[in-house]
Amino acid sequence: MTTQTHDFTVIEGGTAPVRVEDMAPVARFSLRLREAHRAAVGQALGFDLPQRVGDVARAKARAALCLGPDEWLIHAPEAEAEAIAAAGAGAYAEAPHSLVEISDREISYAITGPAARELLTIACPRDLDRLATGRAVRTVFDTAQVVLWRDGEDAFRLDVWRSFAPHVRALLDAGQAELSAGF
C-alpha cells in the first residue's frame, strides 16, 4: 500500500476523535514451553500462564499473553527484566523452556479515543468487536505482523517490530488526520 499524505485542516476547538502515541519502553520476553512445564515456569515468573489463545494473565505490573498453544508474550516494567530472566534460569533445570528477551525488537503505540476502533480498521482485517477488553491477539496491520491489545472499549495498544514501525505509523497518522478532519 502506498502512503499518501494530505494537508488536512483539522477542526479547531474540537477534541481529536483518536490519538496515536508512542509508549514508553517495556521489558518484553518470548516464552516457549511444553504443557508439562507450564505450571512450574508460570509459578517462577509469577503467573498462572493462560491456555486459551488471546487470554492475558496479569500479576502486578506484569502481563503474560497466550499467543499460541506453546507460546507466550510477557510484558513487564523495564526494571524487572533481569529478575524475570533470573527467575526463568532458576526454573530451567526442572522445567526446560525457552525464555528470550525481545525488549528491543518492538515498540508500542497507544491508540485511544472514540474513533480508535475505526482507525484500526484501515489496515487490520480482524473483527475488532469480537476482541474483548483485556484480551490481545497476534494479527496483521496492513502487511506487518503485530500484537494488538485491547485495554478498554476505546483503548488499544499495538506492538510493532521496529523495522515495520515507520510504515505502520505513517498509516496510523494518515488515518488519524482523516478522522480528525471529519471524514
Binding site: 489463545v53 488471546g54 499460541g68 480482524r126 494479527t139
Partner: protein
C-alpha cells in the same frame, strides 16, 4: 475475503492471517534410499489436484503460528472443515452428507 476457522485458536478469522502449505497427508517415506527414482519423484512432486474437496495444509502464520489441516472444495473455494495437525483424515462421504 475468505474466513478460515483455526482449530487451535477456535476462532473464524480473516484469510490474511493464514498461509497455504500444500496438500495434506503426504507422508515422507521412512526409508528414502529404498525407493525407486519414480517413487521418490511421486512423493516429491505428484499431487492429487482434485476438482472438489481437497485435503490441504494451512498455517495460521500471523496468529498462533500453528500448522493445521483443512478440507476445501476447489470449485467453490468453500472450507468444509478444519482440524488439528496429526488428526486422521476425515471421511469425505460423511462430510458431504452433512452439507
Amino acid at each position: 475475503m475468505l474466513l478460515i476457522h483455526c482449530p487451535y485458536c477456535d476462532e473464524t478469522l480473516p484469510e490474511l492471517e493464514f498461509a497455504y502449505a500444500g496438500e495434506a497427508h503426504v507422508d515422507r517415506p521412512a526409508d528414502p534410499s529404498a525407493l525407486s527414482d519414480e517413487e521418490w519423484r511421486d512423493f516429491l512432486f505428484i499431487r492429487a489436484n482434485p476438482k472438489g474437496p481437497h485435503f490441504e495444509r494451512w498455517r495460521h502464520v500471523h496468529g498462533c503460528a500453528r500448522f493445521f489441516n483443512a478440507v476445501r472444495d476447489t470449485v467453490s473455494d468453500r472450507f468444509l472443515m478444519t482440524y488439528k495437525a496429526g488428526e486422521p483424515r476425515p471421511d469425505i462421504s460423511k462430510l458431504e452428507e452433512a452439507q
